[in-house]
Symmetry: C2
Subunit: 122 residues, 2 copies
Amino acid sequence: MNYLPISFAEKFSLFDDAWQPKVVAEMNDYQFKLARLEGEFVWHQHADSDETFIVIEGELTIKFRDGVVQLVAGELFVVPKGVEHKPIAAKEAKVLLIEPRGVVNTGDLDEGNRRAENDVWI
Amino acid sequence: MNYLPISFAEKFSLFDDAWQPKVVAEMNDYQFKLARLEGEFVWHQHADSDETFIVIEGELTIKFRDGVVQLVAGELFVVPKGVEHKPIAAKEAKVLLIEPRGVVNTGDLDEGNRRAENDVWI
Protein backbone atom coordinates (compact mmCIF):
# COMPACT_ATOMS: atom_id res chain seq x y z
CA MET A 1 0.00 0.00 0.00
CA ASN A 2 0.99 3.62 -0.40
CA TYR A 3 1.43 5.36 2.92
CA LEU A 4 0.94 9.12 2.93
CA PRO A 5 3.50 11.61 4.21
CA ILE A 6 2.50 14.71 6.15
CA SER A 7 2.77 17.75 3.90
CA PHE A 8 3.36 20.97 5.84
CA ALA A 9 1.97 23.09 3.00
CA GLU A 10 -1.19 20.98 2.78
CA LYS A 11 -1.73 21.10 6.54
CA PHE A 12 -1.19 24.88 6.67
CA SER A 13 -3.84 25.29 3.96
CA LEU A 14 -6.39 23.84 6.39
CA PHE A 15 -6.28 26.56 9.05
CA ASP A 16 -5.82 30.30 9.39
CA ASP A 17 -5.85 31.05 13.11
CA ALA A 18 -2.68 32.38 14.71
CA TRP A 19 -1.13 31.01 17.92
CA GLN A 20 -3.26 27.87 17.75
CA PRO A 21 -0.88 24.92 17.26
CA LYS A 22 -2.27 21.92 15.37
CA VAL A 23 -0.86 18.45 15.89
CA VAL A 24 0.06 16.72 12.63
CA ALA A 25 2.05 13.70 13.84
CA GLU A 26 3.42 11.93 16.89
CA MET A 27 6.76 10.23 17.53
CA ASN A 28 6.74 8.16 20.72
CA ASP A 29 5.33 10.61 23.30
CA TYR A 30 6.32 13.71 21.31
CA GLN A 31 4.11 15.76 19.02
CA PHE A 32 4.76 17.70 15.84
CA LYS A 33 2.60 20.81 15.74
CA LEU A 34 2.19 23.40 13.01
CA ALA A 35 1.38 26.97 13.99
CA ARG A 36 0.89 30.32 12.37
CA LEU A 37 2.48 33.01 14.51
CA GLU A 38 1.77 36.70 14.05
CA GLY A 39 2.29 39.50 16.50
CA GLU A 40 3.63 39.15 20.03
CA PHE A 41 3.09 36.17 22.27
CA VAL A 42 3.25 36.24 26.07
CA TRP A 43 6.31 35.64 28.22
CA HIS A 44 6.21 32.06 29.50
CA GLN A 45 8.35 29.00 30.16
CA HIS A 46 7.94 25.26 30.14
CA ALA A 47 9.28 23.91 33.41
CA ASP A 48 9.54 20.28 32.37
CA SER A 49 10.65 20.26 28.75
CA ASP A 50 12.74 21.84 26.07
CA GLU A 51 10.73 23.17 23.11
CA THR A 52 11.86 23.12 19.49
CA PHE A 53 10.97 25.74 16.89
CA ILE A 54 11.63 25.15 13.18
CA VAL A 55 10.63 28.00 10.86
CA ILE A 56 8.92 26.72 7.70
CA GLU A 57 8.13 30.12 6.20
CA GLY A 58 8.71 33.72 7.29
CA GLU A 59 10.74 35.05 10.18
CA LEU A 60 10.51 34.50 13.91
CA THR A 61 12.07 36.34 16.82
CA ILE A 62 12.26 34.70 20.23
CA LYS A 63 13.10 37.04 23.08
CA PHE A 64 14.75 35.81 26.25
CA ARG A 65 15.32 37.75 29.45
CA ASP A 66 19.02 37.91 28.54
CA GLY A 67 18.91 38.11 24.77
CA VAL A 68 17.21 37.16 21.54
CA VAL A 69 17.36 34.73 18.63
CA GLN A 70 16.24 35.53 15.09
CA LEU A 71 15.14 32.67 12.84
CA VAL A 72 14.27 32.49 9.17
CA ALA A 73 12.89 29.58 7.13
CA GLY A 74 15.14 26.53 7.34
CA GLU A 75 16.38 27.33 10.81
CA LEU A 76 15.87 25.58 14.14
CA PHE A 77 16.17 26.63 17.76
CA VAL A 78 15.67 24.65 20.94
CA VAL A 79 14.44 26.68 23.89
CA PRO A 80 15.76 24.97 27.03
CA LYS A 81 13.26 23.97 29.70
CA GLY A 82 12.69 26.57 32.36
CA VAL A 83 13.87 29.44 30.16
CA GLU A 84 11.40 32.29 29.83
CA HIS A 85 10.75 33.21 26.23
CA LYS A 86 8.46 35.41 24.16
CA PRO A 87 7.96 34.57 20.47
CA ILE A 88 7.34 37.50 18.16
CA ALA A 89 6.57 37.57 14.43
CA ALA A 90 6.23 40.99 12.82
CA LYS A 91 4.59 39.33 9.82
CA GLU A 92 3.02 35.89 9.86
CA ALA A 93 5.51 33.06 10.33
CA LYS A 94 4.72 29.40 9.73
CA VAL A 95 6.40 27.27 12.34
CA LEU A 96 6.85 23.61 13.26
CA LEU A 97 6.89 23.01 17.01
CA ILE A 98 8.18 19.80 18.55
CA GLU A 99 7.60 18.97 22.19
CA PRO A 100 6.21 16.22 24.41
CA ARG A 101 2.50 15.45 24.26
CA GLY A 102 0.65 17.51 26.84
CA VAL A 103 2.77 20.66 26.72
CA VAL A 104 0.52 23.72 26.69
CA ASN A 105 1.47 26.69 24.52
CA THR A 106 1.46 29.18 27.38
CA GLY A 107 3.55 26.97 29.64
CA ASP A 108 3.51 28.07 33.26
CA LEU A 109 0.78 30.67 32.81
CA ASP A 110 -2.50 29.61 34.31
CA GLU A 111 -4.71 31.69 32.12
CA GLY A 112 -4.80 34.35 29.45
CA ASN A 113 -6.37 34.60 26.06
CA ARG A 114 -3.25 33.28 24.37
CA ARG A 115 -3.79 29.82 25.82
CA ALA A 116 -4.72 27.50 22.98
CA GLU A 117 -6.73 24.32 23.22
CA ASN A 118 -4.17 21.54 23.47
CA ASP A 119 -3.89 18.37 21.41
CA VAL A 120 -5.93 19.66 18.45
CA TRP A 121 -5.17 17.55 15.38
CA ILE A 122 -5.48 18.65 11.79
CA MET B 1 23.16 38.59 23.72
CA ASN B 2 22.29 37.25 20.31
CA TYR B 3 21.72 33.50 20.33
CA LEU B 4 22.32 31.68 17.07
CA PRO B 5 19.77 29.47 15.35
CA ILE B 6 20.77 26.23 13.63
CA SER B 7 20.71 26.76 9.86
CA PHE B 8 20.12 23.54 7.95
CA ALA B 9 21.74 24.96 4.81
CA GLU B 10 24.82 26.07 6.70
CA LYS B 11 25.19 22.71 8.42
CA PHE B 12 24.75 20.79 5.15
CA SER B 13 27.54 22.88 3.64
CA LEU B 14 29.92 21.37 6.20
CA PHE B 15 29.76 17.74 5.08
CA ASP B 16 29.39 15.65 1.95
CA ASP B 17 29.26 12.03 3.06
CA ALA B 18 26.05 10.11 2.50
CA TRP B 19 24.29 7.99 5.13
CA GLN B 20 26.34 9.58 7.93
CA PRO B 21 23.90 11.50 10.15
CA LYS B 22 25.29 14.54 11.95
CA VAL B 23 23.74 15.79 15.17
CA VAL B 24 22.91 19.51 15.08
CA ALA B 25 20.78 19.94 18.21
CA GLU B 26 19.21 18.17 21.15
CA MET B 27 15.78 18.51 22.79
CA ASN B 28 15.58 16.71 26.12
CA ASP B 29 16.93 13.23 25.27
CA TYR B 30 16.15 13.53 21.56
CA GLN B 31 18.53 14.50 18.78
CA PHE B 32 18.10 16.37 15.52
CA LYS B 33 20.36 14.89 12.84
CA LEU B 34 20.99 16.04 9.29
CA ALA B 35 21.86 13.44 6.68
CA ARG B 36 22.54 13.26 2.99
CA LEU B 37 20.91 10.13 1.57
CA GLU B 38 21.76 8.75 -1.85
CA GLY B 39 21.21 5.25 -3.18
CA GLU B 40 19.68 2.37 -1.24
CA PHE B 41 20.03 1.82 2.46
CA VAL B 42 19.67 -1.54 4.21
CA TRP B 43 16.49 -3.05 5.62
CA HIS B 44 16.41 -2.45 9.36
CA GLN B 45 14.16 -1.50 12.24
CA HIS B 46 14.43 0.29 15.54
CA ALA B 47 12.90 -1.89 18.22
CA ASP B 48 12.57 0.78 20.90
CA SER B 49 11.64 4.00 19.12
CA ASP B 50 9.75 5.65 16.35
CA GLU B 51 11.94 7.55 13.87
CA THR B 52 10.99 10.79 12.14
CA PHE B 53 12.10 11.79 8.65
CA ILE B 54 11.61 15.34 7.35
CA VAL B 55 12.81 15.99 3.81
CA ILE B 56 14.65 19.31 3.50
CA GLU B 57 15.62 18.97 -0.16
CA GLY B 58 15.11 16.30 -2.82
CA GLU B 59 12.96 13.20 -2.72
CA LEU B 60 12.98 10.18 -0.44
CA THR B 61 11.33 6.79 -0.74
CA ILE B 62 10.92 4.60 2.31
CA LYS B 63 10.01 1.00 1.58
CA PHE B 64 8.17 -1.15 4.08
CA ARG B 65 7.48 -4.88 3.88
CA ASP B 66 3.86 -4.05 3.10
CA GLY B 67 4.17 -0.81 1.15
CA VAL B 68 5.99 2.41 0.53
CA VAL B 69 5.91 6.13 1.26
CA GLN B 70 7.24 8.83 -1.07
CA LEU B 71 8.36 12.13 0.41
CA VAL B 72 9.42 15.42 -1.14
CA ALA B 73 10.80 18.56 0.51
CA GLY B 74 8.46 19.90 3.17
CA GLU B 75 7.04 16.51 4.07
CA LEU B 76 7.33 14.42 7.22
CA PHE B 77 6.88 10.75 8.01
CA VAL B 78 7.17 8.90 11.30
CA VAL B 79 8.30 5.28 10.97
CA PRO B 80 6.78 3.41 13.92
CA LYS B 81 9.11 1.48 16.18
CA GLY B 82 9.64 -2.12 15.20
CA VAL B 83 8.63 -1.56 11.58
CA GLU B 84 11.22 -2.71 9.03
CA HIS B 85 12.08 -0.01 6.55
CA LYS B 86 14.53 0.69 3.76
CA PRO B 87 15.20 4.32 2.78
CA ILE B 88 16.03 4.93 -0.89
CA ALA B 89 16.98 8.14 -2.69
CA ALA B 90 17.51 7.91 -6.44
CA LYS B 91 19.27 11.28 -6.31
CA GLU B 92 20.71 12.85 -3.20
CA ALA B 93 18.12 13.86 -0.61
CA LYS B 94 18.82 16.12 2.34
CA VAL B 95 16.93 14.90 5.37
CA LEU B 96 16.33 15.87 8.99
CA LEU B 97 16.08 12.86 11.30
CA ILE B 98 14.61 13.08 14.80
CA GLU B 99 14.97 10.27 17.29
CA PRO B 100 16.17 9.59 20.84
CA ARG B 101 19.85 9.99 21.63
CA GLY B 102 21.64 6.67 21.14
CA VAL B 103 19.62 5.34 18.21
CA VAL B 104 21.97 3.83 15.63
CA ASN B 105 21.24 4.33 11.94
CA THR B 106 21.17 0.62 11.12
CA GLY B 107 18.90 -0.22 14.04
CA ASP B 108 18.79 -3.93 14.79
CA LEU B 109 21.63 -4.85 12.42
CA ASP B 110 24.81 -5.74 14.25
CA GLU B 111 27.18 -4.89 11.50
CA GLY B 112 27.52 -3.84 7.89
CA ASN B 113 29.24 -1.01 6.12
CA ARG B 114 26.16 1.19 6.32
CA ARG B 115 26.52 1.54 10.06
CA ALA B 116 27.53 5.12 10.81
CA GLU B 117 29.40 6.36 13.82
CA ASN B 118 26.76 7.55 16.25
CA ASP B 119 26.48 10.90 18.03
CA VAL B 120 28.71 12.81 15.60
CA TRP B 121 28.05 16.55 15.95
CA ILE B 122 28.54 19.15 13.29
